[in-house]
Symmetry: C2
Subunit: 270 residues, 2 copies
């Protein structure tokens, strides 16, 4: 059985108490370093793999401190606090002894409760009626996903600065090769929305996420029930100012369950 | 000149390299501990006060690990990484040697750039036409703000579980006594939206924020320009499931500038 490239990219080897070693993956390479989604997934995996882990991830924040170079990295995992049903982790990624990313994760034992979903799921045409985005010859990580945009595919047709395009996108997305959904995959997917400024200005320019926060809205069983079916994703932005913009996203199960929401703040030069 | 209660609540005394001591404030007491907004503001203040601080806050994540008891606390501030124009901090709050909160903050030197604000500012009636929410006899922190709700004031009129109210609120809000806006005040304001489940179910029940992320969308000069005028705030939720719900908020300047956005994930028992 062949291992999925995401499992290879996020593989960690224990290296002492609370320490792990890993390797960046060419399969998920982005322009200047690894796709941020795999970095987020790898940091979360350190906590997921901890023997004393309690429950499922509820919140994950990843701060991208510096470009990550091709090659090895070390992860230091610190259990900040464990309560009866919640657990708090601090996670640091280093290369050659220097911090390249930090993260915090909140885990919780989730129990059935009163439930209510006021968010409105986007209406998209059936997936099979939408073309698969061409990823050939582009940054490698794009080929690890199947993108079928209903709205807001980045076209790289430059816009006048006083006539920006909408920052909104909606699409079907899934891992390639297909993969059962779990927290590792969902953490990576939460960063799979191409940075909004490329779409808004229709051009490539220097930009990079500095902080990403993802909330998970169901437990491991709720993710397993999604199987490998495509998710529905939407992304948008509220404000671009003084070199930083925000970006928010929703990831929906095909059955209408809101599985994850995320926000990120992104550096840009324009 | 009398010091503002927020400045007293967030006052830190240096206690060695990267260490500070502070005290909870009765002025901002909530049901079971200090108002989370003052905790967030205090953690941010440790980085704001650091002599090697670079630029202004862009992102702040606070994880509430355990109830904070009345009395003293210690803060440990770690400079994770400083680049040419960005800086990453990790911050831990302890009581009696035990972690009660963790945080990360991203700072950046912000420069003028192409700017664009696709978010739509809510339309509210003039502030003076809206009643000030009565806070007499309620948790102390509520009296440290002037709330004028246009929509979605928590009424504590219980709803049937199959007929929840909207989670949306819009209001004018400002510090009491009035105070010039800065990052400390804005960090606290970003947690000033009463937890949505009280409004949705119209009743008090066990609930508490476990993680809060705030993005700041302007620099210190942009905040100073707001003076002490009320801000416009909106809050909403997307999903309540398995004991946790999300809550998002926007804080707008009266001149139409989106100053901050935040998300939080909140534990509840219902």
């Amino acid at each position: 059985m062949t291992r999925h490239p995401l499992d290879i990219a996020t593989q960690l080897t224990p290296a002492g108490e609370g320490r792990f070693e890993g390797q960046t993956s060419a399969d998920y390479w982005n322009m200047m370093g690894p796709f941020g989604g795999t970095t987020a997934a790898t940091l979360l995996k350190a906590a997921l793999d901890a023997p004393q882990r309690l429950g499922d991830p509820v919140a994950l924040t990843v701060n991208f401190c510096a470009p990550i170079a091709e090659g090895g990295f070390e992860i230091e995992l610190t259990e900040a606090r464990t309560n009866r049903s919640t657990q708090h982790w601090m996670i640091v990624m280093r290369q050659a002894g220097t911090v390249v990313a930090t993260a915090s994760a909140v885990f919780a034992v989730r129990r059935e409760s009163w439930a209510h979903q006021p968010a409105v799921r986007p209406e998209l045409p059936p997936a099979e009626t939408l073309p698969v985005m061409e990823t050939e010859g582009r940054n490698a990580w794009l080929s690890r996903y199947e993108f079928r945009f209903a709205d807001g595919e980045v076209r790289f047709e430059p816009r006048a600065q006083d006539d920006p395009a909408s920052a909104y996108s909606s699409l079907y997305i899934r891992d390639l090769p297909e993969r059962q959904l779990d927290f590792v995959a969902l953490a990576a997917l939460s960063d799979s929305f191409i940075v909004r400024i490329f779409q808004v200005l229709g051009t490539f320019l220097p930009a990079g996420t500095v902080s990403l926060t993802t909330y998970f809205h169901t437990d491991a069983a709720g993710l397993a029930a999604q199987g490998s079916r495509p998710l529905i994703g939407v992304a948008d932005s509220k404000v671009f100012r003084q070199g930083y913009f925000d970006q928010s996203a929703e990831l929906w199960g095909i059955d209408g369950t809101l599985l994850a929401t995320s926000v990120q703040t992104v550096y840009y030069k324009a």
